[in-house]
Symmetry: C2
Subunit: 473 residues, 2 copies
């Protein structure tokens, strides 16, 4: 620390100010420090926790990790000492004066405002949970799960009941992960969703299977439901009424996705994208020179559709943070879009998806050819072989791979990385079939599941028609 401090105090090369301290912010700060040892770097963060794992919160709720505090990677003092970066917790950035390169910072403890100068500014302000407008916000038992404090409150609430009646609104990534976590501690929540199947963004075959897993675990799944009203008793919700029935509740978790926090940037005249996130270029720079954005708050290019998308993955927050930090510190780094990759491991089953689903591809105007196959995870006579389901989506015109899904027991999900790379490299089904994959009976079937899919799609492309039935090999 003393080394960093001396350098900074003697000849700071530039003042890099970062707004936000959960994932993208600390990543940007650490990278900026590596690139420019002489910069002065300051992180402003409105909460009292910084640099923690959001994605691991379900494992605390399930009891697999002892406390929410274990999810903290750095406290402010350690980050200052190890990375040479000042962190001001409990400080909210309220405005940006772009022309003067100043920000308005409110110290939430004293409620005092100060103006802070910057040479480079990085916005890593994250996202907020979407809440159904039919829900009242002035109740104590309506939960969301974005921050560590959200996690602590939810954990305390769950533990205050022996068998709480829990309704989860939404059956996306977080809804299903929390259902799994609750199941691990013997609870059976009710999942209320607007869609007909859980896990939007995955292939239909995966979504249908996750539905059966949720039900087999004792969860009640309510599809196609719209909230029409609530019942409350003082500051507590006691019931949720939907188009599919009424549910008595002890606590409600709202897991309806997220919205990028674009307001601070918008107020400063920084351009937002069509999805409400901050618009950035390949260097993570916003429409305002010298101001960068990273993490959930910005929109990222999907190279398959050439359109922007939103993302709330910690891995992308870290990557985009690194890039913003590098560029803000005078280096040069670029993000060449992002091929979507997501994975979930619930109820003993791994599911992973990359690229576009069949539905998404069609919605973007592609004529799709799809193969869905079943394969053993390893040579079927070997002990431990489990069934896998693999899906491959290809474009009829270019014959390129557009998307892939895989589902199965242990070892299933990691196979998606190869498909993500294949999509990134714009491989056609035929070129993909040149690939060389490991074979050993303890770890894989003789023919890789996606190779089987690709052969089937190639056949379907040659026949000029779509092929959809599940083929067992």
């Amino acid at each position: 620390m003393s080394l960093f401090k001396q350098r900074i105090m003697s000849t700071p090369s530039r003042r890099i100010v970062i707004v936000g301290g959960v994932a993208a912010g600390p990543s940007a700060a650490a990278r900026a420090r590596r690139v420019d040892p002489n910069a002065e770097i300051i992180v402003f963060h409105q909460d009292t926790d910084m640099s923690y794992g959001v994605c691991e919160m379900p494992a605390v709720l399930s009891g697999e990790i002892a406390t929410m505090e274990r999810l903290v990677f750095f406290d402010a003092e350690t980050f200052r000492r190890e990375k040479g970066v000042e962190v001001r917790l409990g400080h909210r950035v309220e405005d940006i004066h772009v022309a003067r390169k100043r920000i308005v910072v409110r110290d939430l403890a004293t409620n005092s405002e100060t103006l802070e100068r910057y040479d480079r500014l990085i916005l890593a302000v994250g996202s907020r949970a979407r809440v159904d407008p039919a829900l009242p916000l002035d109740v104590c038992n309506l939960h969301v799960l974005r921050s560590l404090d959200d996690g602590r409150r939810l954990q305390t609430a769950i533990e205050s009941f022996s068998q709480p009646r829990i309704v989860i609104l939404g059956a996306g990534y977080i809804g299903v992960e929390i259902a799994d976590a609750l199941h691990r501690r013997g609870l059976t929540p009710t999942l209320v969703m607007s869609d007909s199947l859980p896990l939007p963004g995955f292939d239909t075959s995966v979504r249908a299977h996750i539905l059966t897993l949720l039900q087999a675990a004792g969860c009640t799944v309510v599809p196609d439901a719209t909230i029409t009203g609530v019942r409350r008793d003082g500051d507590r919700l006691t019931g949720i009424t939907t188009t599919q029935g009424h549910f008595e509740v002890d606590l409600v978790l709202c897991a309806l996705g997220f919205e990028p926090r674009g307001e601070l940037a918008e107020r400063a005249g920084i351009r937002l994208g069509p999805l409400g996130g901050i618009q950035v270029d390949q260097r993570q720079m916003t429409s305002s020179d010298g101001i960068y954005a990273a993490g959930d708050c910005c929109e990222l290019l999907n190279p398959i559709t050439r359109k922007t998308m939103r993302s709330a993955f910690a891995s992308l927050a870290q990557r985009t943070g690194r890039i913003a930090g590098e560029n803000a510190a005078g280096g040069r780094a670029e993000l060449h879009g992002v091929i979507p990759v997501s994975a979930i491991s619930v109820f003993g089953t791994e599911c992973a998806h990359t690229g576009l689903t069949e539905d998404e591809a069609r919605a973007h105007g592609f004529r799709t050819h799809v193969a869905r196959i079943q394969s053993p995870s390893r040579v079927s006579i070997m002990p431990g072989a489990l069934p896998l389901t693999a899906t491959l989506v290809a474009d009829e015109r270019t014959e390129r791979i557009l998307g892939a899904d895989i589902m199965g027991g242990e070892f299933a999900a990691l196979r998606i990385n190869t498909m993500s790379l294949a999509i990134r490299q714009q491989l056609t089904v035929s070129t993909f079939l040149d690939s060389d994959f490991l074979y050993t009976p303890r770890l894989s079937p003789l023919t890789d599941p996606f190779t089987v899919c690709a052969r089937q799609v190639l056949h379907s492309l040659a026949a000029g028609k779509a092929s959809h039935p599940i083929t067992k090999i």
Copy 2:
């Protein structure tokens, strides 16, 4: 069957003769049948077993699979019925008359010879085990492991002792797998090897770790040893003398690798490659028009070195067999070389390798930059996180990835497929860093291990010097 037979008997379009019935042969036959329903297709195979898994034999020896018979995929009658292909077991092809398109076939049961006509010929004659010339061949307790009969003999021999003193000559893939199999049934063999470490073809870090695993399992590992003599008692070996000491033996397994069976082709004037295997083009066609070769008996192009290599993997036998079968039947298929990929799962540890090792790359004249890192298999605070070791080898001039290794507990090996694809696509370290990999705490660390390697190699390339120390992240 009757359908196929009728067609064949009425108007056979061509007569496709396949020599060899273990892996590449049946694969070629099945593919040829799919491409040309009217061809007459005959497989000649000298043994009495056909179409079986060689790679699964260790799992029979360990007791995990009940019998060697479970490794048989097809018997001749089933293959005939399901694939419409005639199979003549116990028939050895002794000569090829290329000009007249005839082969000389010996029926081993009657010892009679016949001439058989072909329009297209596919050689899938496989490989034989290498045996140290210092060993006598006229003993009953010297074993190799190539055929199902080899496996049965070895199994019977092992089971005839309660605690046999077993010496395994060679510590390559098969030697180490058999040591693991014997360890699973409570036996502790001695491995005698000419090299200083087991598992040639894998990264040094992997090889050193496998040595410690072999020793921890109670195996005696004898490095840098050359056989100088043997002791025998009638038709039994009783001892092996090496430059590193003398070993009393009840049975000896010779696992010194394999040699392609090139003689039949060579006698017919078909060109062999520099490694003694049959030379083939991208369509698996030999130097003789209309004669194809597939599987262990031929040499394959390694696109990284632009030189040929040998391979005894069932997966490649199947792939090359498919290609030979397709082309022999009038279709068009090509193999665009093979990026080597190998994996092994022994003593609870998975190891996988692709491309060139550092040593191989240097031997081929590349100036290498190498990163070796340790990473948790998943977010370290998640239950089940295990250590991974990843190695990346890159070329200084082109900055391309040349090779990769990964080692760890469950989930480790499958990560190699992505690197194999990266090498196939000739990605530079920098382009590889554009890749998008799954992140979820239960299945992966925040940053993919090979991404960590690639960042380190990029740094090393920028610094213009090699970086070798293991970095812990």
